[in-house]
Symmetry: C2
Subunit: 204 residues, 2 copies
């Protein structure tokens, strides 16, 4: 047999990370060479150990999986990235693929299946969970313009228009206009519902 696949495991939940490391180690063609609990830590570990495959959680403190994947793409082009996530929003998948991620699966898969996917990704294949892919396709592209999305993001915490205007360096009236058009594009009754919808689809 050839040399084993060197794997980096990044997930902020120690329970999962540890358990996963143990399970993957049972596969004798896989070896977990490093673990990380945060985005920056994952990057540092990747630099230090140059793994073949990085298994990244989508939501981690510091920097999310997609951001890490982007940096990894630049620094270690040979390292393939596989993203694992609990809540798969359609938009995230699109962003992940754009960042050069090779695999994208929900945490509902079995460890056995994950091991297979690590091998597949290492071999150069791509794999996206069919259900998540279907969601992404049916959700389609974001109908929002760049500014609409930006303003909507600033509105996310329920701030009043005046504050959004200040943060975005726009006139209040302009902000209201963007908010209004964004809400109508999303079919929402008001900006708050719009924020919720955009969040669900991963458009913010």
């Amino acid at each position: 047999m050839t040399t084993p696949v060197r794997v980096l495991l990044a997930d902020d939940e120690h329970l999962i990370r540890g358990a996963l490391a143990a399970l993957l180690s049972l596969e004798d063609d896989l070896v977990v060479v490093a673990e990380a609990a945060t985005g920056p830590e994952a990057l540092a570990m990747a630099r230090a150990h140059a793994p073949d495959v990085a298994v990244l959680d989508l939501q981690m403190p510091g920097a999310d999986g997609v951001k890490v994947a982007t940096s990894l793409r630049a620094e270690l082009p040979a390292c393939r990235v596989l993203i694992v996530t609990s809540h798969g929003r359609p938009g995230h998948l699109k962003r992940a693929l754009a960042a050069g991620v090779r695999g994208f699966v929900p945490k509902t898969v079995s460890a056995q299946r994950l091991a297979e996917l690590i091998r597949a990704v290492h071999a150069g294949n791509r794999y996206v969970d069919p259900e998540l892919a279907a969601d992404a396709i049916s959700a389609g592209d974001s109908p929002l313009t760049a500014r609409e999305a930006e303003v909507l993001e600033h509105a996310a915490d329920g701030a009043p228009v005046a504050e959004i205007a200040e943060r975005a360096a726009l006139a209040e009236g302009t902000v209201r206009n963007y908010l209004s058009s964004a809400a109508s594009k999303l079919g929402a009754e008001n900006r708050h519902a719009a924020v919720r919808l955009a969040r669900e689809r991963g458009w913010v």
Copy 2:
């Protein structure tokens, strides 16, 4: 040695559940007798297998860990409940303890530690993660009255006052009053920010 501790494992993420089951099985005084991916399934499994300890994820489809714990308390008083969670909101801890849960820990603990806690809980001890406990204490009790909390919940998805009034069977003016007083109690600028804050603290 005495008979092993019979454990029920409930978590919607197959990856974690499977990995955990494998790890816990390495401990020879623990045996995983059942697994479940949803709240109702966890209940059914508990009825069928009467485990000594139920390890429940806080967020599951169908019914959350606290709801399951409440039912379990009534149906299987001998079964001790240990809750595991990724995002520990202060209010959840309080609700969990009220439901008779014996242990409450974040998923950042190690599997080794979890095994110890399962034994401790089985022996009749209680255990709450110190950090979560500190959060819960510093966050204090919800200052909201029952109606304020109810109205705030209905406001959660950004619905207009008219809709909230209809769902809560209240006059619009009354709803506005409750929302207003809730927001001022939480120190929020408006109801949407109030919803966010109450969510964070686990008060809704």
